[in-house]
Symmetry: C2
């Protein structure tokens, strides 16, 4: 297996992408193609004594996509950028999956243009996982599609459910529709239409649809897959992140208030470290673009080397999972006449 890593994408590239790729090559033993400026990549490898890392190959690309580039056009305008070259390698079959911490919009465009949507899938979705009570929940879509149809929400449900099943080993993942109440008449016309489609799929035994879920139920673990349009998903995801950060700040104030509270902190340190680890996005590594015919993983822009390594792990697992074939086999249940 070969995993393509965009060495130049992300806030801390190429430093963390190169180190993360080297870590992954050592840890997982799969081939990694590092796409980017050879001098820059080599400099990082040398600085960290990683020149002789096995399974690591540099693929030259002279240009860089940055966060200010227009997502829709940049891959055409910058054909020699690391991201464009990475996608061309993916399309040519030179690699099995692609990992990038770069411009999300450009990645979505590239995934669609070069990876290609699975036949019958209307739009690709971005599906990160969030920690929640009792485990984790996959949010789909979390930002790829600002405006959605009910059929798209049905497809997001199937895509994330099949991913959770094939990648995370969940048996019949619980699928919830994010809504402003649990009753089946709740929501705007889009939600009511999507509810009917999801309910029918649930009744037919094709999805484990648990009904509408409120915003509060997502972090409290009411479902394994939370389905929403990308606008809502973006706001929901970031609201969880912001609330967690706000609370973490306040707890830090409590622990640093006095000599006594500092001792209190030391007594609870192990548990607080585990608690922090639960919200550590680095271990998650990245989020898949679902609905694309080849695995594409978006790592967080602010990824460190551990996050990049974990994104590669996720790409390897995704490639092996058979999830994309499962989507193809079930595509007739995901389309609305």
């Amino acid at each position: 297996m070969k995993i393509i890593v965009d060495a130049m994408g992300g806030d801390n590239a190429p430093d963390v992408t190169v180190r993360g790729a080297a870590l992954a090559a050592k840890e997982y033993g799969e081939d990694i193609l590092l796409v980017g400026q050879p001098e820059a990549i080599t400099a990082v490898l040398r600085a960290h004594g990683l020149e002789n890392t096995e399974h690591l190959t540099i693929m030259p690309a002279s240009d860089i996509v940055d966060m200010h580039d227009d997502p829709a056009t940049v891959l055409r305008r910058k054909p020699d950028s690391s991201m464009a070259v990475a996608f061309k390698l993916l399309k040519a079959g030179e690699g099995d999956a692609l990992v990038s911490a770069g411009n999300t919009g450009a990645l979505l465009t590239g995934a669609t243009l070069y990876g290609g949507r699975i036949k019958g899938i209307r739009r690709a979705a971005l599906a990160p996982v969030l920690p929640c009570e009792g485990g984790e929940v996959m949010l789909c879509d979390a930002g790829a599609n600002t405006e959605c149809t009910a059929e798209m929400l049905l497809q997001f449900a199937f895509l994330a459910s099949l991913y959770a099943e094939k990648n995370n080993g969940l048996k019949s993942p619980r699928v919830g529709l994010v809504n402003n109440g649990t009753e089946d008449t709740k929501g705007d016309p889009l939600r009511r239409e999507a509810y009917a489609l999801l309910k029918a799929a649930g009744d037919a035994g094709r999805l484990n649809f648990v009904g509408n879920v409120e915003g509060s139920q997502v972090p409290l673990g009411a479902c394994d897959v939370a389905v929403c349009d990308g606008f809502m998903g973006n706001v929901l995801l970031k609201t969880v992140e912001g609330t967690a950060k706000f609370m973490a700040h306040e707890i830090k104030k409590v622990f640093t208030a006095s000599a006594g509270t500092k001792i209190g902190y030391l007594l609870c340190k192990k548990g607080m470290d585990d608690f922090r680890e639960m919200f550590n996005q680095d271990k998650v590594g990245g989020a898949p673009f679902l609905g694309i015919a080849k695995p594409v993983i978006k790592a967080h822009g602010s990824s460190n080397e551990i996050a990049v390594m974990n994104a590669v792990r996720r790409a390897i697992a995704y490639t092996k999972s058979g999830m994309i074939d499962a989507v193809k086999e079930n595509i007739q249940y995901m389309t609305v006449e």
Copy 2:
């Protein structure tokens, strides 16, 4: 001043509503009209030795609105319910403001029918406040209107801004538009249209519009007023609540893990109590319906007596604030031709 309290509305009515009203009557010295079943109200007063509470008058109403009643029709179908009678008292000028912990949808219908919208206002909005880094943020709309126009979002911005100014003493409250990115081109057509209206109001010096805000920025204190449609507002509000609850559960696990962590907790108890207090919705009391010509306060369904007392405090402050007159004076800036 007379505050009308729906004694039969809410999960724990009439017990907590009656006790909360009695507390408020003692604490604030304003007249309170307790609307509901006289025997039930009297029983609670007697059980708590509150029969002789000054400023407390019982107004009989034989029926009850419950959470299963259809919000749109219940006040007509149950004209003798405590909520319907309370609204008729408000309309007749027998009281200055109304507080209820009952069915939110029925309250919105009643507020619109009996309180009446301020001339020029398209729809009433529900505007709760949330704790955030550095203070609190008012969310408007948080659930009254599932589908909105850009003009409605503009009105929500003015309503919440004027409320924050007149009630909370904020000088030119910072108004943000909840969106999926901070750039001015972000969002769906509704958000882009609303952005243009808010930007124009900001440029004219009528609102302190700080631009688009992401979900993460709301709990992190980027604005004093967060404007959104009621569907998004409902999900955002509940996501904050659910995340806070999830994190509180996890922190509790940390503190109760061992004898050592329990000592750690005792050392930090004061700070942790303050921290919990920050997320205590009881002290907030309730959320105003904005855009209505008379003050109507929705207390949380699960309110305890302290929450009811604080909802009455909020109703008194709202009545005195002059906010409704300020809306009338500024109505020409809130309408789109």
